[in-house]
Amino acid sequence: MDIDIRHIAKLSRLKISDDEFAKFENEMKGIVDMVNTLPQLGEDLAIDENNVMQLRQDIAETGKFTRDELFQNAPQVKAGCLVVPKTVE
């Protein structure tokens, strides 16, 4: 089966270099052929009532972390905010 590796890479926000491309395409084809062995069962996928989750109440808990703690791993912080490239002209 043919898959458009460049398109999938773009959707995945990944760049595949020209050097790696042939190897990657070949590997991905093999993997897709493997998953293609799955038969089509053609039924409807209803919600599984045996596996119902209990969600906690959506109440904000404050005081667990400081802003500094939450930002300690950020690549770039300025004036207490995360820095990202300009997105709006």
Binding site: I3, I5, I8, A9, L11, S12, R13, L14, K15, I16, E20, F24, E27, M28, G30, I31, V32, M34, V35, N36, T37, L38, P39, Q40, L41, E43, L45, D48, M53, Q54, L55, R56, K64, F65, E69, L70, Q72, N73, A74, P75, Q76, L82, V84, P85, K86, T87
Partner: protein
């Protein structure tokens, strides 16, 4: 016998009777790490100073007469995808090379509340994707039984550390076999608990509907004791089951009489090495001689578990790993022209090849026009497989299979062939697909003197049955062999 060679259950008694201190024990294990980890390379971070401090604090509590939990003072190693406050949690990825979590995973809170000592963080395949620990960004871990071979994966560091006696017990995570397969390769006991029995809060997500944290130990009882600590409902994980748990460790009797063991012929096909089949069936016969009833069963859809697993796990991985964008935490590329360029360069430089393959497979199976053919069909197959298991458990208590189709491979043997690597998981993925508990325990050696793993699968929340049978087997054969290092 050295302290680091003993089981947690033995050490727990020695600590309680004050025959030894946690400081002595922790120092003995750290010395062991210093002496053999240069060869095994199981650890990414050793938390030596803090571990000794924790051990001292536990000793002080004990001296003051405080009643302590059973495993208080026992050192434990943690897979590096489980968040530890103030200790780097890298997922063995360049993406998280310098990431220090500001919080503890729920299992770590429980380990700390049980006064166990955190030894450090253990190597793994990057983001738990792999079956050999060769996908670690940092280094390859070596199998303590043969240093030229892989420990298996993805919890290869956890299994190798316990096997090499560099940790008394360890935590791993299992999405498609990542606790059981390395445990089999390294000759230790590893439990993948029922989905929902252990909180995933703080486990860096790979495939959320399949991931489960579990214990690895030198004995069945050790694994049961750690599972008793880490299980339980957690409001921070909506998928954690609402139920009460009784102690599994206390339920172990060594009596296997009348236990019905099913042997599914689908797990003994030509893909399975003959030595593995022989070792597994010998173990089953031991249990039969001790009074277990053995019968053949059939799980006809088992052969579709591998494609279903790779579709579901990769689909979830592609969504879960979208969070690594170079904005809030982790690696960020140095040079970029705009936001999208930053995302693409950050992710391309930060992730290794296997992670990229899984993200791309996941993106493909979820993409417009393919969702119905792949993801939906895989979810339907998941229900079918779970149904077949459910029916089987009306007839038997435990299902016995090999844990892995072959014993540990040479380092580098499969690294360039993703499909060969994926085939390592054929005996384990079904269990995650069906959400069931399963334990791997050593059941002898193959012709190259490498450990073989016996997998015992149980019905949901029947960890007591599989660990009960495993404990009986361990008693029958008089314990498991240790490697010589």
């Amino acid at each position: 016998m050295e302290l680091y060679e003993m089981t947690a259950a033995q050490l727990s008694e020695k600590l309680e009777s004050k025959e030894i201190s946690s400081c002595e024990l922790t120092q003995a294990v750290i010395d062991r790490i210093n002496s053999v980890d240069g060869k095994v390379k199981a650890y990414l971070t050793v938390n030596a100073e803090e571990a000794i401090e924790q051990a001292k604090a536990v000793d002080n509590k004990r001296i003051s007469g405080e009643k302590l939990p059973k495993l208080a003072g026992i050192p434990i190693g943690i897979k590096d995808n489980i968040s530890t406050k103030g200790i780097k949690t890298t997922c063995a990825s360049k993406m998280l090379e310098n990431y220090v979590p500001p919080f503890d995973a729920t299992v770590i809170e429980k380990i700390k509340a049980s006064d166990m000592v955190l030894l450090g963080k253990l190597n793994m395949d990057e983001f738990a994707m792999g079956s050999s620990t060769e996908n670690s960004y940092f280094n390859v871990t070596h199998n303590p039984f043969d240093l030229d071979k892989v420990p298996g994966g993805s919890s290869g560091g956890s299994a190798a550390a316990v096997s090499a006696r560099e940790a008394i017990v360890a935590l791993g995570s299992d999405t498609g076999g990542s606790i059981r397969q390395p445990s089999a390769n390294c000759g230790v006991v590893g439990l993948k608990p029922t989905y929902g029995s252990v909180s995933r809060y703080g486990l860096v997500a790979f495939a959320s509907s399949l991931d489960q944290i579990g214990p690895i130990g030198k004995s069945v009882k050790d694994v049961a004791m750690v599972q008793d600590i880490i299980c339980g409902r957690d409001k921070m994980d909506a998928t954690s089951a609402v139920r009460e748990y009784t102690s599994i460790a206390d339920s172990l009797t060594g009596d296997v009489s009348g236990v019905k063991i099913g042997i599914p012929n689908e797990y003994f096909g030509e893909a399975i090495d003959d030595d593995v089949k022989t070792a597994v069936m010998n173990a089953v016969h031991e249990l039969e001689k001790a009074g277990a009833k053995v019968c053949e069963i059939s799980l006809p859809s088992a052969k579709y578990a591998l494609p279903a697993y790779y579709i579901i796990s990769s689909a979830e991985a592609s969504s879960n790993l979208a969070r690594f964008d170079g904005v809030r935490y982790g690696y960020r590329a140095k040079d970029y022209t705009d936001l999208v360029d930053m995302y693409e360069k950050t992710r391309s430089e930060g992730f290794g090849s296997e992670v990229k393959r899984r993200i791309m497979l996941g993106t493909f199976v979820l993409s417009s026009g393919y969702y119905d053919a792949y993801y939906k069909q895989a979810k339907l197959m998941q229900r079918k497989i779970a149904g077949e298991y459910k029916a089987a458990f009306n007839e038997v208590d435990v299902i016995a299979t090999p844990t892995a189709p072959f014993t540990a491979c040479k380092i580098g043997q499969n690294i360039d062939d993703p499909l060969k690597m994926y085939a390592c998981d054929i005996c384990t993925v079904t269990v995650n697909i069906a959400g069931l508990p399963a334990v791997s325990l050593p059941c002898g050696m193959d012709r190259s003197n490498m450990p073989v793993g016996l997998q015992l699968i149980g019905d949901s929340f029947c960890e007591d049955k599989i660990l009960g049978a495993a404990y009986a087997y361990e008693k029958l054969i008089g314990g498991f062999a240790a490697p010589t290092l």
